[in-house]
Symmetry: C2
Subunit: 296 residues, 2 copies
Amino acid sequence: MTLQTIAFAGSRLDRADHVRCNPDKLAELSNWRARLLLLDGLDPVVSPDGRLAWGTLADADAEAELVFLGLDGERACFAQVPPSLNGNVGPANPRLWQAMATLDAGELATYGGARSMVDWHARHRFCARCGAPTALAKGGWQRNCGSCKAEHFPRVDPVTIMLVEHDGNILLGRQPRFPAGNYSALAGFVEPGESIEEAVAREVLEEAGVRVRDVRYVVSQPWPFPSSLMIGCHAFADDPTVTVDVTELEDARWFTRAEVEDAMRAIARLEGGSAFRAPPPTAVAHHLLRWWVAKG
Amino acid sequence: MTLQTIAFAGSRLDRADHVRCNPDKLAELSNWRARLLLLDGLDPVVSPDGRLAWGTLADADAEAELVFLGLDGERACFAQVPPSLNGNVGPANPRLWQAMATLDAGELATYGGARSMVDWHARHRFCARCGAPTALAKGGWQRNCGSCKAEHFPRVDPVTIMLVEHDGNILLGRQPRFPAGNYSALAGFVEPGESIEEAVAREVLEEAGVRVRDVRYVVSQPWPFPSSLMIGCHAFADDPTVTVDVTELEDARWFTRAEVEDAMRAIARLEGGSAFRAPPPTAVAHHLLRWWVAKG
């Protein structure tokens, strides 16, 4: 599966790790040519031509911390963490969904990575080890405690998301918060002490009471709400008996290949009338379903 | 690849998510039959019969926080986070390597998961958002801030580790801290805003100056130092020119299939004499190399 097809992957910025670790180089690049990604809280600002809006470092709040996003050619790109951003982050909103439909893949990826970083800084201004204030370091790819000297790094939370297959059918579920008719792949965070394959098996057993075998990796996606790494997998089940964990899901059931194909056609045409509404192309679950339909 | 062959995967405990979220059930299970994993700091305590040593909740420090590890049949298993554990965690030590050679796979996985959790609690006693003290919640699978009410969750840090192939040879590198002669797969943390495939490509380019294509997932492993999820991959390179990032690596170079086969035989027999010393079976890099040799 090509990276370009996956939302939030494929940023064209060079992360330029060598710059982060070099304060002199970073200072030199923080010049009048440097670009500042404009954000409204954590939401993207989209210019009239449908692209991410950028300013210069002169547009940054004087008290803001600056995160070095990477290089666009010779120009350094930054995002700011203004003091007013307090880590009270709401869920994705209509403005964001609009931007996701407008921005090209590379820009959406640049925005997603920046959003995760800015959000992490806004919610990690203190040391989890001792409670003292921390300060941004290494261009924003680290925070250091001024008191106990602990070093803190941005989080990436691995999440497994999986299609389970039995007798040519696929298990999908819906959370109570989903719009009516929507079903998607089951998913859950990988926990300390388990492999990807174990996390897949545990989540499916917890949420649907189904035991799986032959877990196979399919595709991954960064998902910036706030900073997940979606790990898309496929597995087989021998016993289709479903026992829904009603604390997690409203429903989970098997769909036939024809129903999935129909739902994927409907979502592509923005039509209704299918047995369920499939996840949109921005979601990795969409790509899992597309992969499953294509593999036949 | 079967889970049993991967170190730190395959715990036999049932994580019993439904218990974590049920304070009454958790209290009921915190009885005289419950087991407490005995640790020396973060190191395992191995009994004379070569198994993990367990006590009862009566053995816990009165001031300790208790992490619910899961169920062993009807019995709840816990690990304690004593107040004396301050998050000053050293690297893996000889005692730990000894235990890794002694414990069976399931017990090593139980220990690894417990170690990651205890270590996380010891280093996250304060709220990263506001600096106030936090308290253990949901059997240790969450910490809550008493002041700003933020919820914090244990970390799992995804790390890509990869074999890069060109013309039938494999690229391996060595860090300055490695024992003389040791080479292993290149590796690095997945960053916010990138997919697994992008992280693999970035790390190989950063560390060895080599561009890759066709990244493929092979195997994963939880690695409790402190809480990584190793994501083992394979990729191809078209241009074998290596430019070593000397801030990360002492050397990186191509090894022939014969050299890798020889090194894998030597490590299995604990012999020397091969072109390089391969990583041990506890490391996911060992399994990547074994997979590569087997695929021919």
